[in-house]
């Protein structure tokens, strides 16, 4: 659950961008970093290799504003997508309040997407979290590529969206769908705090 400070009326949520290597997770954060006013965001921290591939994680803190009287902050993380960094993916996923699974829409990356999605389920289960119980949004990235190279959102929904979670087409490089993805996930995450717990 998001961390809630009732004294200072603050909420902090950890949101993780997950997906196969080179699907556009870091690009999502870079776009957000470039668009959000400096006073509302921290520096983007990237633990990357010399060739700019994510080694551990990217991290971007955002100050959203006041919602229902609570100053709300998001901590955006990406995981390293390359298959052999599974141990670090597990670590970054710890305590996540919500996940964006970024799908690379290119048809040739279908198997990589599937493998990464299974990896997400396993790593959540490893922490005792059922993927059906955590707020999840699918982002179908690279929809700007020529149509003969990519799968359409309905095709990708058939393949990945068996839970009928929010799914959004995107072109993270140019920003299309980035804002909508963050909006969809933050809404799901915060909805959990707007539910009245059952009386004891």
């Amino acid at each position: 659950m998001p961390l809630v400070n009732f004294t200072t009326r603050e909420i902090t949520c950890k949101l993780v961008y997950y997906g196969p290597g080179r699907c556009g997770k870091t690009t999502n954060l870079l776009y957000i970093h470039g668009r959000v006013p400096e006073q509302r965001r921290g520096n983007m921290v990237s633990l990357a290799t010399q060739s700019d591939r994510t080694l551990f994680f990217d991290f971007l803190p955002l100050e959203l504003g006041v919602i229902s009287g609570f100053t709300t902050r998001f901590q955006l993380y990406t995981v390293p997508g390359q298959v052999y960094y599974n141990a670090t993916r597990r670590l970054v996923l710890q305590g996540a309040d919500g996940v964006v699974f970024v799908v690379d829409s290119q048809a040739r990356r279908y198997d990589d997407n599937l493998e990464s999605f299974q990896d997400l389920q396993e790593n959540l289960l490893d922490q005792g979290v059922d993927i059906r119980q955590i707020p999840l949004v699918l982002q179908y990235n690279k929809q700007d590529l020529p149509s003969d190279l990519i799968l359409s959102p309905p095709d990708l929904d058939d393949a990945f969206n068996f839970r009928n979670v929010p799914s959004l087409p995107a072109d993270a490089l140019h920003g299309a769908g980035v804002f909508e993805t963050l909006k969809a996930l933050s809404s799901l995450v915060l909805q959990r705090l707007a539910v009245r717990p059952p009386a004891p």
Partner: protein
């Protein structure tokens, strides 16, 4: 000093006074800030917390891979400044502490008073409160306008 829950303040205040640490950050093992002293910007605190949690998480995994007992603390010693990073259990789960200290104190003092801090926190922690509703049910309008303002739309 800022703390998420008031009961953390007295033990942490005692630690700061005795250890003469420059910066101190208490966080959950997933990198959420619980309390801090010495940082001027909340967004910088979150970055430090994410990195501290990352270091400790990878240290645990490294110990596992190497077949040695988990390391509960790591020290980075620089010129005139050091960082002490340690994990400890509380009634509220596993927390981490990140302490930046200078020549005005020593690693030994920081370690000694940090151990005392973990004991004090264990004693001070109240029973967990039942979950309660935090946001109004119609929070989405405010969320959407906040996000629109954030992205300049």
């Amino acid at each position: 000093m800022r703390a998420i829950e008031p009961w953390v303040e007295a033990p942490l205040g005692g630690f700061l006074k005795e250890s003469a640490a420059r910066l101190t950050l208490l966080m959950t093992s997933s990198g959420q800030v619980v309390a801090q002293h010495g940082f001027t910007r909340s967004l910088d605190v979150m970055a430090a917390s994410a990195l501290g949690a990352g270091i400790m998480a990878s240290t645990f995994e490294l110990a596992k891979v190497m077949g040695i007992r988990p390391l509960d603390a790591v020290v980075h010693q620089g010129t005139g400044v050091g960082i002490y990073l340690a994990a400890f259990d509380t009634p509220r789960g596993r927390w981490l502490g990140l302490v930046v200290f200078g020549d005005e104190t020593s690693l030994g003092l920081v370690q000694y008073f940090f151990a005392r801090l973990t004991e004090d926190l264990g004693r001070a922690a109240p029973a967990a409160e039942p979950p309660r509703q935090v946001l109004a049910e119609d929070f989405e309008d405010e969320l959407n306008s906040s996000l629109r303002a954030l992205f300049g739309r």
